[in-house]
Each structure stands twice: as C-alpha cells, then as structure tokens.
Symmetry: C2
Subunit: 215 residues, 2 copies
C-alpha cells in the first residue's frame, strides 16, 4: 500500500468532533500519516472551547492524498477568508480523497470544488461524487472516515479500526436526524438557529460571489 | 436546573476521542460548563499525535459535579502517577457523576473508586453502579455522555444533543466488538496487542499494590 498523507483542516470556531472523529480513524490506518493543518501553528479554539494545536501550517503542508474539511459555526468566517479558501482549493484539486464534514462542505463549495458537479442537496448521511465525499454533521465524520479507510486499505485492514475504537454505537435516543427526532425537538432546534442560519446564508452568498468573480 | 461543572481529565498518551466525544456532548448540555483538566496548563500530546491544551490544571480545578476519565495507552503511566491518582480520587469521591471510558476505568480503580464495589468485568458497552459509569472504549464515551446528560437535564433537553451532533450512526462495518468483528480480525488485534497488554497488567498490579498500601 502506498503511504497516505492525510490533512485535516483546523480553523477557529469549527466543531472539534468533525475533526477528532475522523482523526481517530485515520490515525489508526496502517501507513497513514495524519496532519492537523491550520493557517499558523498557533493553538486554535474550537466552537465550544476545546483548544487544539496544529501539527503543521498552510505554508509547510505537503500536498495531501486525503484532505478533510470539518464544519461548525466558524465556517461562516472561513468561507470568507481568502487564504483558507485558496488552501482548500489547492489541496482539494490535488487530493485523491476529499471530505466535507457537516458545513465543511460549504468551504469545499466556496473553493469551487463542488461547483463542477452542480451540487445538489441530499438528506443522506454520506454522499460520494468522484473523489469528493460530503457527509452529515459531526459524528458522521467517523462513518465517512471508516468508509474511505476501506477504499484505501481494503476491508480487512479497515475493519480493525472499528474494533480498536469500539465503534458499536448504542445511541440512547434515536434523535440524530430531523426525521427521527421528536417533532418538538426539531422545532426547538430550528427556532434556536434561525439567526445563525441567516448569518450563514449571507456568508455563503458572499463566498459564492467571490468564487464567480474569480472564475 | 442547577449549573453543572464538568471536568474531563487530559493526560499524555490518552486516546483523544475518549475525551473529545464526551466533550462534544457535554458542551452542548444547557447549563453545563466543561473543563479539560490536566496536571499543568501545558499542551498535552495524545496517543496518536493530536495535541490538546487544557483549560485548567489540577491546582486550579474546582470540585466537579461530573468527572470523566478517558483511557488509552497513557493509562499505564497515569495509574502510577501519584499526583494524577490523588486528583482522580479527590474528584471521584466528590462528584455526582463519574465516568470511566475505556481503560480510564483502570485509573478509577487505581484511585480506589471501584474497589468499594468489588468491581467485576462486564462485556456491556455501558455499566452503571451508583454514581460511577464505566463504558467500553472510545466511541462508547459518546453514548455514556448522552445518557448522563439525560439524567442531568431530562430526556427532552438531552434529545437535542444527538440532533445537534447528528448522532445517527451508520457504521460501514459491524466490527466494533470482538463479538461482531470477523474472527480473523479479532485474532490479529489480539496478536498485535500482546505486549501492550502485558505492560498494562504490570502497571495495574503495581497501582493495585500502591492502593492497598495506602488503605
């Protein structure tokens, strides 16, 4: 098996489990060297306060075979940051496997990596289009990473990873999607995020304008 | 609802997802303030290279209501570190909810927090005994944290958390336990960890001796 260089993007205000879930899977893939890559080497505060130190920065990063972009509230700023968008574009164009986890897919879009496909919205937990994997939020990043690990290393090698991380989920509630959660819970969540969604839509529009001006 | 102070123990060589999984859940629990607590404030390298910065240190930590102890290879050193064991004991005795995730349970044992129960080994993903919750490895910490969140805040509040983190797992393989993984995979994993298990057994024996000398 060829050596895999995996890069997971770290940026302020992202949701840490979008990164730490796939990290745990990829770091256990034989022959895979996993970087956490940020704009600079300074520690980065994620949305709920967990602070992670990058292992490398944009300037020193190699071209990754596998490049993963997490999501979270910080996406709104990241899609408007020219340096971040350019890095995502460069890595995304060159990588064999590209993940967008949760709203990380918006950053792939801002980098022009989804436009070519005429991106459509899907309710599926995981969507695969050529080398670009986009998934639902947070814990879905674990599923996506195991699936890609199987593509890279074969099923036999990949099946050791769920065993190592005891990935045999027993969710206490089936409330992980708007389709399975109680209606009242979904409505409360929608109400609580109205403003955030408005901010995000504005950011995405602005990022899309920047992209079309560039092309 | 009363304010919850949650403390998640961070130590060198631990498995980061044992901490980051529960962190993501607890940080989304209304009224819960979540610390990552380590011996000092210096950034800590976890077993596969992810570096996390603590939010507080042993000396400054308050008594937590909820105290969680992750596992991983670093447990072998942690169970023999008198300062860490004393901190775990102090927090474990005073906390309303105590988690041991994966081999974090060994650290609870070294602190004398399981001895009182005459701890028995279980194949269950989650075991509850009074205020002490012990769980299987890594991703099981997500399940345990959601379950405790429901105890703390009630089911209605807790059900918002799986929705926020889209916890609707679709494992690509049912290989998350020795009972579901292919036999060959289990045997390979056992063979690969023989030496590590030997080291761990020695560390646990030494920690148990220290505990019995203390009592």
């Amino acid at each position: 098996m060829t050596e895999i260089r995996a890069g997971l993007l770290l940026f302020t205000g992202m949701t840490q489990l979008d990164l730490t879930g796939p990290f745990e899977v990829l770091a256990r893939l034989p022959g895979c060297r996993t970087d956490v890559v940020a704009k600079t080497l300074a520690p980065v505060r994620t949305d709920k306060g967990l602070v992670i130190t990058p292992t490398t920065d944009f300037a020193s990063a190699p071209q990754y075979n596998l490049f993963a972009v997490p999501g979270g509230p910080g996406t709104d700023d990241a899609v408007l940051d020219a340096e971040t968008v350019a890095f995502v574009r460069r890595q995304g164009v060159g990588a064999r496997w590209v993940f967008g986890i949760c709203t990380g897919s918006l950053l792939l879009g801002a980098a022009g990596l989804l436009a070519a496909f005429g991106a459509t919205v899907s309710d599926d937990r995981l969507t695969v289009d050529s080398n670009v994997f986009t998934s639902g939020g947070v814990t879905a990043g674990i599923d996506i990473a195991i699936r890609v690990a199987a593509e890279i290393a074969g099923e036999a090698a990949a099946q050791q990873i769920p065993l190592q991380i005891e990935y045999d989920p027993e969710p206490p509630f089936r409330a992980g999607t708007p389709f399975t959660a109680p209606k009242e819970i979904v409505q409360r969540a929608l109400a609580a995020t109205t403003e955030r969604r408005r901010t995000r839509e504005a950011a995405v529009r602005q990022a899309a304008d920047a992209l079309s001006e560039r092309d």
